[in-house]
Symmetry: C2
Subunit: 413 residues, 2 copies
């Protein structure tokens, strides 16, 4: 079977050079390295088939947690979606079953070699009681990119979206009926092969669990402060930092705790001798500042050079900025920003605001960044908890998510 797999997977491999911004540095060539796998275009194995879905309902429905007591990712709905895959047969019958423990052989490759990847997405109830997803196609595409990079199987994204829809509808009573609340969905794929040999998993499990969540800032925005991390590195060119792999998360906890021990809510990952700003905790980062030469307002975020997670919120902020801020005179750029450039802008009064962007909070305004013993002020007034752009983005995106604005990004179940 091993040789069969090698042949099969050979077809899906492709390396390419990312079109990242060029840098006048000795590391320029290295920066551009980016290695991905392309999902299988076609396969003779069974694909994911929503029409075969079987549903086993729980006999012990859970009590709902009061909306005010919800903690992110702590309580789950009655059911889960579960689909096995084997190298010999492809995708098996999709099943919705009662939420339950997984039974894994202690040699399962997910437990030893981190054959695991996931997505984070949400289901929202609109004011007509309809359930909506937000750009699920982006999550499906990214999960396929993640899984293929670690030799796990790919799948038909539309089929999985349909299956997730059925699951969400079945457990829709768990979606709190209030603005800011949603059902967090966690599609996860793990390798289940029972052997300690390091190789492409011959079996896998794709499952989706769901956790009702409240607003990230229940009492309105609360700006966070960051500690710039230069002693540890989250991602690098040619690595896997742009994929949503489990492998990218556990190593981030210690630097996060380091920052927390000094009173900072998140850490900011700097990269390289140039100390480029990359990501904040588990969010992408946006900087709004005035151009040093022209004075033009710019909204800037790091480019997708292989070291940056391709955030769905990041992409949405960029698209909305290009559509709605550029006509107002803003420039929007995906380019590398040095920490010193940000600090200089702050010093010269050109820094307008800084915010993180991610599925959990949509946007997360930043007040200060600790950098080499100095505190860089990110432009908020003392009485302010969010800047205008962050606020605007949150309202635009939330408006689409909850269906106030009809928009192709909102997917009604």
């Amino acid at each position: 079977m091993r040789s069969f797999q090698v042949a099969r997977r050979r077809a899906l491999l492709q390396s390419f050079v990312a079109p990242g911004a060029s840098q006048n540095s000795a590391m320029s060539q290295l920066w551009k390295r980016c290695f991905s796998a392309t999902p299988i275009a076609a396969s003779r194995l069974a694909g994911l088939d929503p029409s075969k879905l079987t549903v086993t309902k729980t006999s012990t429905p859970k009590e709902l947690t009061a909306a005010k007591d919800l903690v992110f990712g702590k309580t789950f709905t009655d059911h889960m979606l579960s689909i096995e895959w084997t190298a010999a047969d492809g995708w098996h019958t999709p099943q919705i079953v009662p939420y339950q423990n997984l039974s894994l052989d202690p040699s399962a490759c997910v437990l030893h070699y981190a054959f695991e990847c996931f997505e984070g997405m949400k289901a929202y109830k609109d004011n007509k009681g309809q359930i909506r997803l937000f750009r699920p196609n982006k999550n499906m595409a990214r999960l396929n990119k993640s899984s293929s990079r670690i030799a796990l199987p790919t799948f038909d994204g539309e089929a999985l979206t349909k299956l997730i829809g059925e699951f969400v509808k079945l457990d829709s009573r768990f979606i709190p009926d209030a603005r800011g609340y949603s059902l967090y969905l966690r599609p996860t794929m793990i390798g289940t092969q029972k052997t300690l040999g390091v190789g492409p998993p011959g079996s896998a499990l794709l499952f989706v669990i769901a956790s009702p969540v409240g607003p990230y800032y229940p009492t309105g925005f609360k700006a966070i402060s960051l500690e710039a991390t230069d002693y540890a590195v989250r991602a690098w060119p040619g690595g896997v930092g742009d994929k949503k792999l489990g492998a990218n998360y556990a190593p981030c906890v210690l630097p996060q705790l380091e920052a927390a021990s000094r009173g900072f809510q998140q850490n900011l990952w700097l990269f390289g001798e140039e100390e480029y700003i990359t990501e904040v905790g588990t969010m992408n980062l946006f900087v709004a500042m005035k151009n040093k030469e022209t004075g033009q307002k710019e909204l800037v975020t790091a480019p997708l050079d292989g070291t940056i997670l391709e955030g769905v919120t990041r992409d949405s902020v960029l698209a909305l900025a290009r559509e709605r801020l550029v006509p107002k005179g803003w420039a929007v750029a995906e380019r590398k920003v040095r920490m010193t450039e940000l600090a200089e802008a702050a010093q010269e009064g050109r820094l307008i605001e800084v915010f993180g962007a991610g599925t959990a909070a949509i946007v997360s305004p930043v007040r200060k960044i600790s950098y080499k013993g100095e505190l860089v002020d990110c432009g908020l007034k003392e009485t302010e908890e969010a800047g205008q752009i962050a606020l605007q983005m949150k309202n635009w995106i939330e408006g689409i998510q909850y269906g106030d604005e009809e928009h192709p990004w909102s997917y009604v179940l």
Copy 2:
């Protein structure tokens, strides 16, 4: 509990600059970055206590697999060692129980964020029927380094060695009684906390499983050929490539398959614009060559700069080379070697031999390396499957492992 953990773990954090060889490159500063956590010196929580061990024997002992049919990591013994940990109580009662599936909540953090690390070690039967481990203290120290880097708990290494000893003695009938055979031991630690929040796990499981294995080269050495990988990068200064984390393994499979698709048994990881030789597949790499200026024979391997796994076999080869080859006129060095330096040595007839070093094979001789479309000949004669140094190292190390030579590295149970 979160704040308690933060405070507790704060004490164990320490960053340092590795004393790696200095390089005249723009990346020199970056190279030197190395971030580790120091295991807890003392804790008020319960430690690992071998005297509390409970044993539940299986009621259905397995049939032994014929020695010739053994496949690495595919069949396991009757039992497993299992110890739970919680942030509130520390280490719970160590248990030997029948080999069995783990029951994990689908939100368990090991499945999403790769909170997992492991060791590979072996138990050998000597010609008196005694069971021996090889340098278990090295594995214990490394597992503690790995676990603390991802905010998993640390433990008393001597206590775990004792517990592993009890487990191995109970399942000793699985250790084939022949040279080259052994019982592969897989200590593994996983985070089991049931929440999707990314943070230090509040609960963990340390388990050890055991798989009888045959000799890596059952019919004598078989030299392998490598493909140099420059499009993907395994490890980075300031990353976690020097720890034995699951996170380091899944991303390596595709480059491995890429190499295999072109007929190479393993891939060789090059790093940076300088294309430094780092590791081969999941082994460390040794190069024996004559010095360009002096003609002196040198045995060289990459230094521990934070990008290299601190292999126990690597350390053993270095120590034996310093003790037994240096008196014969060899130089031994841990230094960076460029791929071009190796290719040049090959061209000039100065390359003596190249071999990988790891627990599975002890040494793995290399015949050729594919590099930028050329095949670099690594010095073996066509009729040879191993060079003198590889052969010598294998015999020395195996002699110690099986107790032919009395040596402090061999630990009799």
